[in-house]
Amino acid sequence: MSHENTFLIGKSFASFALAYPWDPSKIVIVLDHRTPANTATTASVHAHIRALVKEYGIEKFFDAGEGICHQIIVEERLVRPGQLVLGTDSHTTTAGAVGAFATGIGATEMAGVWATGSLWLRVPRTIQIELSGRLSTGSYAKDVALDLTRRLGPSGADYRCLEFAGDAIPSMTVSSRMVLTNMAMEAGAKAGMVEPDVVTTDWYKGHEANLDVVLSDKDANYEDRVKMDISGLPPMVSGPHKVEHAKSVDKMEGIRVDQAFIGTCTNGRLEDLLAAARVLKGRKVHPGCRLIVAPASRKVLIEAIGKEAAQTIIAAGGTILPPGCGPCLGSHEGVLGAGEVCISSSNRNFRGRMGSDEAEIYLASPATVAASAVEGKITDPRRLLV
């Protein structure tokens, strides 16, 4: 799987002078990072990729506006339990939510995979994250992920696989699980996985052919076990500049917010837009703040319209962007200026990521982002959910 960086893959692949990739049916390409094109350069990159897709007979191609690659491959059931998934994006770990081993690689080695169907990988050691209890109102999988990143640190899971287990998992949707496996990357993990269960097999209803569910060995040897009781976990806010700088929302409340962004491969799914709409219903975005929402896929947007979440967001004064990565990586559609503060449902708050080096990014759940948009300052969503 690859996105705009298919341009680089294509360049390296062309130097092998092969007529076709080893198996075009296994290649997925999604244009999502700068869609619709933000510059003339991007437009020609997109055009180049469209031509390459035709030339090589790559049928699993999703053009600008379809959504984010990590969302598409799960939503379209292109990834299945037990598979090995390689993507030229660090958040490829997201697909581990359905029990695949999914990991990020670079563009040049993807060209090698296109040419040969092979790649070197070291089998990682596994850290088990045992989640127990139940989230209370106003807290979400994102708050668990931020708290876990705080505990592990930015390299606490380097080269390791994170396996999410425990009695909190069965009540989590595939979308919520994707938040955990997506954010596993922020602790450096090579992969984040959730053992397939009935929620997973339900996800593949109507797509059961050759469903190969791989379960953890009962006597599996874990390098470490981290236990987290998520009952009573408060909403968390991370930042600025480091994901592991996570604190409970009460320690961050009152910080001025110029822009609030809901979307991305972390939190741009239907349940995220519904959570935001619940907060925004009958309210208005604060006059000093902009609310920007980018659904993770076209399907998410259609469903959000069906459930009136999109209408609620727009009525509250929010702007809905086309499905895609939006302003998360700072190339367009909501770039931050010097001195501006953004609260975002994305996964990275690195300095300069969304624009100016002098801007600040805080990370939180869609509900916390929505509540902060209403108040124009970082706000505990539980205040607006009563």
Partner: protein, 192 residues
Amino acid sequence: MSGQGRVWKFGDDVNTDLIISGKHLDNYDPAHLASHAMEGANKDFASVVRQGDIIIAGANFGCGSSREQAVMALKHCGIEAVIARSFARIFYRNAINLGLTVVVSPNAADVFQDGDSVALDLPGHRLVSITGNRSSDLEPVPAHVKLILDEGGLVPFIKKRLKENRFTVDMELVTQARRLHGSPSDNAPEPP
């Protein structure tokens, strides 16, 4: 032993947004990328860095995105090697694949200061100061990684092996693809 280079010191967790910001990624030209290298961590770096200079960093260098442009930017602005206490995995793989020397050192960040003049002694597994009075240890490069580095990166590595027919290509799939999408252009050589 390589020539002499200046040390550029950076701390822990230098992420790929600091190495090359997302706003510069729409243009893949190496010279463009090099002109913005390390901009997020040191604004003067790209204009002052010279061919042969060496980056010494703390733990988890290159964390964050999978963007290969981070390696392209460093390589094309002249960086000879990145020596760090540890590397984030995708950055490490990208560096090897593009032929940028990356070496783990437990103590280089303690021994050397920003602006020091050093020489890289890869066969001797050490980094030494030009005055010769200080040196730090370098961990040996793993054997499977060295195979790729010795060829100058992944593209020449794979090219050589394709020529030697060391990968099997499923001809059935190639035939199918050809049937669906027509013959490849005339000047493209046949797959092995």
